[in-house]
C-alpha cells in the first residue's frame, strides 16, 4: 500500500463516520448498575479520583503559639497570673456564682495550656482560729479543684494546699483585707 492509497482509505473512513453522526439518532445507553445493597441511600457518584501519594501533614496537639503567656517565665506568669483567684464568704467554702464564673475562665486557660500543672492554695482571713482555718483553707482549695475537674481538667494537674491564715495577702484588719484573704489562689508550678 502506497502513501496515496493510505490517504484515500483514511479519507473515506472519516467521511463515512461523519455522515453517520449526523444522520443516526442517539441510542439509549445501558444504566449503570444499582449501588450495592449495603448503602442504599448513598447518592450515585462518579468514582473518586485516586489517592495522591503523599505523606500526611503533621498536626501537633498543642500548637506552639508565640504569645505573651506561653513565652513568660513561671515567676512572671505567677506574678500577674492569668488564673484568677476565687473569693469566699466568711466561714464558707461555697464557690458561689462569681467563683464558678472565675473558675470557668480558669478552666478555659487550663485547657488551652494543657501542660500546666497548678497548685491551688486555700487561704483564710484572721477571723477564724489558726487551727480550724487550716481545714477551712483546704476545703476552699478542694472546692475549686472539684469544680475544675467537673469541667474536664485532669485532677492530676491540680494539687491543693492550705495555708490557713498564715499567709494573708492583705495584712489589714478590716473587711476589705479579709475579703482578699479568703481565697483559693492559683500558682502555676510547671508549664
Amino acid at each position: 500500500m502506497t502513501v496515496r492509497q493510505a490517504v484515500i482509505v483514511c479519507a473515506v473512513v472519516c467521511a463515512g463516520a461523519a455522515a453517520c453522526g449526523k444522520k443516526t439518532p442517539p441510542v439509549a445507553r445501558p444504566m449503570p448498575p444499582p449501588p450495592p445493597a449495603s448503602s442504599p441511600s448513598a447518592p450515585a457518584r462518579p468514582p473518586a479520583p485516586p489517592e495522591p501519594v503523599n505523606e500526611p501533614t503533621i498536626v501537633p496537639p498543642e500548637p506552639v503559639r508565640d504569645d505573651a503567656i506561653s513565652s513568660a517565665s513561671l515567676d512572671d506568669l505567677n506574678k500577674n497570673s492569668p488564673l484568677k483567684p476565687v473569693f469566699f464568704e466568711l466561714d464558707s467554702s461555697d464557690l458561689g456564682a462569681p467563683g464558678q464564673k472565675t473558675l470557668d475562665e480558669n478552666a478555659t486557660l487550663l485547657k488551652r495550656y494543657s501542660t500546666w500543672t497548678v497548685t491551688i492554695e486555700g487561704h483564710c482571713d484572721e477571723r477564724g482560729t489558726a487551727e480550724y482555718n487550716l481545714a477551712l483553707g483546704e476545703r476552699r482549695a478542694i472546692a475549686a479543684r472539684a469544680y475544675l475537674v467537673s469541667l474536664g481538667i485532669p485532677a492530676d494537674r491540680l494539687r491543693t494546699v492550705s495555708y490557713g491564715k498564715e499567709f494573708p495577702f492583705d495584712p489589714g484588719h478590716d473587711e476589705a483585707a479579709y475579703q482578699k484573704n479568703r481565697r483559693a489562689h492559683f500558682v502555676i508550678t510547671a508549664k
Partner: protein
C-alpha cells in the same frame, strides 16, 4: 522521817545535786541534829493565811563580779519563780534594804526578819569553783531559826537554772506542788523575717522556738525555711512534733531538739495534708488531722508513723485533737453541727459527746490531772477569748475579755496556768495567765509568735 525524805532527785543536765548526807561545812548552831517532821515545812500564822517568805539576794562568797551577778540573779529569779505559783505571801523586796545583809549562814538577822512578820526566809550562798559555781540554799523557819530545807548544787554559770531548780524544790517540799519553773514553752514565730523560698508571694516563713516558762532563753530549734507551725512538746520534753510544709504540703515532723535528728510521722503520705500533732500522754502515739481520705478527719499513728488509724468519719471538718491525761479520751473540734464546737470521744473513736454550744469554739486543750478541764478559744464577735470548761460540773469560766483576740490555749504541766496567743499588745504574742484569770504575763515581744505549747 527527816529531811532525807525531802531530798528530791534532780533531773538536770547542768546541775548536780549533792546528796544530802554531805552536810554544809558549817551547819548553823540553831539547826537541830535531828529535825522532826513538824519543822520541815514553813507555815503561816494560825489564821490560815499563806506563809510569808523573804527572798533576799544570795550571798556571794567569792569576791569577783561574776559571782556577785550570779548571786543577785538567783535571788531575783527565785522571788519571781516562787511568786508565780502564789503559794506564799512575800515580804516586798524594797524593804530588804532595811535589814542588815548576812555574810554567811552564821549571821542571819532572824529577829529583824521576824519584825517584818516573815514566816520563812531563804538564804543562799554562791561560791565560784573550777567548773562553775557551788550554790547552797537554806529555807529557814524564822521563828525557830531552823533550816527546814537545806540544799546544795554544783553547776555551770546559768544563774536562772539554779533559781528555777530551788523554786521547784521549795514548792514540792513545802506545798506538795509541782512547780513549773523548769518547764519550757514552744511556739511558732516569724521574728527572723526570712522569706519562703520558691514562692512568688512575699511570705514570711515561720520556725519553731522554745523559751523558759518565763520567756527567757528564747531559742530557734528548726531550720526549715518554710512554714513550721503548731509545735507540741513530747511528754519527756526531749522532742517537739509540729506541722511542716517542707515537703510542699503539710506533714507531721518530730524534731529531737537535743540530738539534732528529724523524724517524719506522715512520711510517704503523698495524698492530703496532715496538721496539728498531739502526743499521747505516754509519748508512744501522735493524734493529728489529715485529709488523706479527702476530708479533714482525726487520725492516730505510732510515733514512727506506723499503725495509722482513722478515728472520725463525718463529712464535716474534724480537727485539733488533744488527749485526756489518762490517754483514754480525745477532745477535738468538729463543725458537724454547723459551726466549730468541742467534742470528746474515747481514744478508739467511739462514745462521741458534744461539749460546747457557742458560736465558734476551737483548739481544745485538756488539763493535766487532778483537774479535769478543757481550755479552748471561743469566738466573741470580732475575735476570740480563752475559756475553761470544767468537765465534771459543766461550768465554764472565762479568762480573757476581748483584749485583742486570744487563741490557742495550752495548759502548764501543773494545770494552774495557761499559755495562749493574744493580739492585745499589737502583733500576735505569747502570754501566760493563771487558770483563774489572774497573773497575766507577756512572754514574747519580737515578730509574731503563735500557737504555744507547754512542756509536760
Amino acid at each position: 522521817m527527816t529531811r532525807e525524805l525531802l531530798t528530791g532527785t534532780l533531773a538536770l543536765a547542768l546541775l548536780a545535786a549533792w546528796p544530802h548526807a554531805q552536810q554544809p561545812p558549817q551547819p548553823p548552831p540553831a539547826a537541830p541534829q535531828q529535825p522532826s517532821e513538824i519543822v520541815t515545812t514553813i507555815s503561816g500564822d494560825s489564821s490560815g493565811a499563806p506563809p510569808r517568805l523573804a527572798v533576799p539576794d544570795f550571798i556571794a562568797l567569792s569576791a569577783d563580779a561574776e559571782t556577785a551577778a550570779v548571786a543577785k540573779t538567783i535571788g531575783e529569779v527565785l522571788w519571781d519563780d516562787l511568786n508565780y505559783e502564789r503559794e506564799f505571801a512575800f515580804i516586798p523586796r524594797d524593804v530588804y534594804a532595811t535589814i542588815p545583809k548576812a555574810t554567811s549562814f552564821n549571821d542571819v538577822p532572824f529577829d529583824r526578819w521576824r519584825e517584818l512578820n516573815a514566816d520563812g526566809l531563804v538564804v543562799g550562798t554562791v561560791q565560784k569553783i573550777a567548773t562553775g559555781f557551788h550554790v547552797e540554799m537554806r529555807l529557814y523557819n524564822v521563828r525557830t531559826k531552823q533550816a527546814v530545807y537545806p540544799r546544795q548544787y554544783d553547776g555551770g554559770a546559768n544563774a536562772r537554772l539554779y533559781a528555777h531548780t530551788i523554786s521547784d524544790e521549795i514548792h514540792k517540799s513545802q506545798r506538795g506542788l509541782n512547780g513549773v519553773a523548769r518547764s519550757k514553752l514552744t511556739f511558732d514565730s516569724d521574728r527572723d523575717g526570712e522569706r519562703m523560698s520558691n514562692t512568688v508571694q512575699t511570705r514570711n516563713i515561720k520556725e519553731i522556738y522554745i523559751a523558759d516558762y518565763d520567756g527567757e532563753n528564747q531559742k530557734r530549734v528548726t531550720v526549715g525555711r518554710t512554714l513550721n507551725i503548731t509545735p507540741r512538746w513530747s511528754p519527756d520534753a526531749r522532742s517537739i512534733a509540729y506541722t511542716s510544709y517542707r515537703r510542699g504540703g503539710a506533714n507531721i515532723f518530730i524534731s529531737n531538739i537535743f540530738v539534732g535528728t528529724l523524724e517524719e510521722v506522715t512520711k510517704g503520705d503523698k495524698v492530703g495534708e496532715n496538721w496539728l500533732p498531739a502526743w499521747s500522754p505516754d509519748g508512744s502515739k501522735v493524734a493529728f488531722t489529715s485529709t488523706r481520705d479527702g476530708n479533714p478527719e482525726i487520725y492516730v499513728a505510732n510515733r514512727d508513723g506506723s499503725g495509722v488509724r482513722r478515728l472520725t468519719n463525718h463529712p464535716g471538718i474534724d480537727i485539733s485533737p488533744t488527749w485526756s491525761p489518762s490517754g483514754t479520751q480525745i477532745a477535738f473540734t468538729s463543725d458537724r453541727s454547723g459551726s466549730p464546737q468541742i467534742y470528746v470521744m474515747d481514744a478508739g473513736g467511739l462514745g462521741l459527746s458534744k461539749k460546747t454550744a457557742e458560736s465558734y469554739c476551737d483548739k481544745p486543750t485538756w488539763s493535766p490531772a487532778p483537774f479535769n478541764e478543757i481550755a479552748y478559744a471561743s469566738r466573741n464577735g470580732p475575735g476570740y477569748d480563752i475559756k475553761v470548761l470544767d468537765l465534771a460540773t459543766g461550768h465554764v469560766r472565762q479568762l480573757t475579755f476581748g483584749e485583742g483576740t486570744n487563741e490557742s490555749p495550752a495548759f502548764a504541766p501543773n494545770g494552774r496556768h495557761i499559755a495562749f496567743m493574744s493580739t492585745r499588745s499589737g502583733k500576735s504574742q505569747v502570754f501566760t495567765i493563771a487558770s483563774d484569770g489572774k497573773n497575766l504575763k507577756q512572754i514574747t515581744r519580737t515578730g509574731n509568735n503563735e500557737k504555744p505549747d507547754w512542756s509536760k
